[in-house]
């Protein structure tokens, strides 16, 4: 069967049998979405590139034991989410060592701390961008868990159940995060307009 007609799961199984072309096709199918997910969650592009490499290396090395028990994209974005959280925790640990007591004591998680940092961007800078940039900037200003839930839906096409599975939260929590994220984005866009 032509690789273009294969599902993600079949491409992964074929790669597990040693078919390098199947993986290449799979990678190109999801490359942009995964990178955008990572790029929106971290502060700079270099970090996003590092995460990109880690995520796909994990996919490659897990091919031998891959079993299509769930959608491939659910598995792929679960890996991406976990790697992002790990990286943010490591970054925050370094920042805590550097900043000492300057860290925000109210921040309860690394993602929240990252979101707080995003909020510190000057509003004037947001207002100077066009609508697309304003929307992306608004996404960056979301709290970390809400942003991650929104990006998993927008980039990974995951359902609420799959988002809950990928983030290790309950269905209601994932649904609530998504609702708050959309409401805030609409509010920011309305303010921009």
């Amino acid at each position: 069967m032509d690789l273009a007609e294969e599902t993600d799961e079949n491409l992964m199984l074929r790669f597990g049998r040693g078919e390098a072309a199947a993986f290449e096709f799979l990678y190109r199918r999801h490359e942009s979405r995964v990178f955008r997910f990572l790029r929106r969650n971290v502060k700079n592009e270099a970090t996003a590139n590092d995460l990109m490499q880690e995520v796909w290396f994990a996919v490659v090395r897990g091919a031998a034991n891959y079993q299509p028990t769930a959608k491939f994209t659910t598995w792929l974005f679960t890996i991406a989410h976990n790697r992002t959280v790990d990286m943010i925790r490591a970054t925050h640990r370094l920042q805590s060592l550097d900043a000492g007591d300057d860290a925000d004591p109210e921040a309860s998680s690394p993602l929240e701390r990252l979101a707080i940092e995003a909020k510190l961007e000057p509003p004037a800078q947001v207002q100077s961008q066009d609508e697309a940039a304003a929307l992306l900037s608004a996404v960056a200003q979301l709290p970390a868990e809400q942003r991650s839930a929104f990006l998993l839906q927008a980039e990974g096409d995951l359902s609420v159940e799959e988002i809950a599975l990928a983030t290790g939260s309950s269905f209601e929590t994932a649904k609530s995060r998504l609702r708050y994220a959309r409401a805030k984005l609409r509010q920011l866009l309305w303010e921009y307009a």
Partner: protein, 322 residues
């Protein structure tokens, strides 16, 4: 959530995707590294040849177990043979053993050794080369199957046998006589008495031994086994012919039992006048008294056996006349 909210959510997602559509992808170096790693892993996965199916035509690694099974079976068969074969060895061809001591004309002349003290182990040993006729003190003992098992070697009874059987009085030992000179189950021992088991079993051979002999296809031997083996038992059963046979074979005519009774007394007690006549004719002592001091004549009178009493009186008169 209303339909209006769903529409607004879809619109928001569409605007986001339009905004980020032209976002740059990962660097070329990252892309190259990922694809290179994928090719390397693909090569490794391709080299992993699938495990071949199980080959039943190849000999098994544990094929040599048949030796263990074969030797085990042979060993078990050998063990079973060793356990059961002695049953058939019991009915063996008659051995060339004939031990008939010369008849003792007088009870007083019998040279039987005094019974050994209980604390001492009696000596049963006789050299195998010694012929039965060389010693007049040898007694012939019919040993039953149980005794044969413990006395496998001719003339050398087992120590357990010796220890378990203190010798009875010589008068009792003298009473044992062989059934037949050619019978294979004769074991010759010195003047020492037989074991307790032999004393108990020899007068009346066990039915098991007789049935074994019959089923083994040796009727003549079985018949001989069923006959009384001692003069006492022959008299007790009233078997005149067997008593005569035993006397012919040299049985001691005045051998005494534990109560000091001779076969003549036993015949008188049982009213067997033919036996009384036979024993008197063969030289039985009509005046021999038992441990209580009763003579055969007194017993005949007590039992009001007039014929026997008259017979005894006649023999006493003839004897005193001599």
């Amino acid at each position: 959530m209303t339909q209006n909210d769903d529409t607004r959510d879809e619109e928001l997602l569409a605007r986001y995707r339009r905004a980020g559509a032209d976002a740059p992808g990962p660097s070329d170096a990252v892309r190259a590294a990922i694809l290179a790693e994928s090719r390397r892993v693909a090569d490794e996965l391709a080299k992993q040849t699938p495990r071949p199916p199980f080959d039943v035509s190849r000999p098994a690694a544990n094929d040599s177990r048949w030796k263990m099974a074969a030797f085990g079976t042979a060993g078990a068969a050998l063990l079973a043979a060793l356990l059961f074969a002695p049953r058939y060895w019991e009915i063996a061809p008659p051995a060339q053993v004939s031990m008939a001591p010369p008849p003792a004309p007088e009870p007083a002349s019998i040279s039987a050794p005094a019974p050994a003290p209980k604390s001492e182990a009696p000596s049963y040993t006789v050299p195998a080369s010694q012929s039965p006729g060389e010693s007049t003190s040898l007694q012939e003992i019919v040993v039953t199957r149980a005794d044969r098992k413990s006395a496998k070697t001719y003339g050398a009874p087992s120590p357990q046998h010796d220890a378990a059987a203190p010798p009875p009085p010589a008068s009792v030992a003298q009473n044992y006589a062989p059934v037949s000179p050619s019978t294979s189950n004769l074991v010759v021992a010195p003047a020492a008495p037989p074991s307790a088991a032999a004393r108990l079993r020899s007068p009346n051979l066990s039915a098991g031994a007789a049935s074994d002999a019959l089923t083994a296809g040796a009727p003549s031997r079985a018949e001989s086994l069923l006959k009384p083996a001692t003069l006492q038992s022959a008299v007790a059963q009233g078997d005149v012919a067997q008593a005569a046979t035993l006397l012919d074979q040299g049985a001691v005519i005045d051998a005494r039992d534990e109560a000091g009774r001779t076969p003549l007394m036993l015949a008188v007690t049982q009213g067997q006048i033919e036996l009384v006549r036979l024993l008197l004719a063969r030289g039985a002592d009509p005046d021999a008294a038992d441990n209580a001091g009763h003579t055969p004549l007194q017993q005949a009178r007590q039992q009001n056996s007039r014929e026997i009493a008259a017979l005894l009186e006649g023999w006493q008169r003839a004897r005193s006349a001599r």
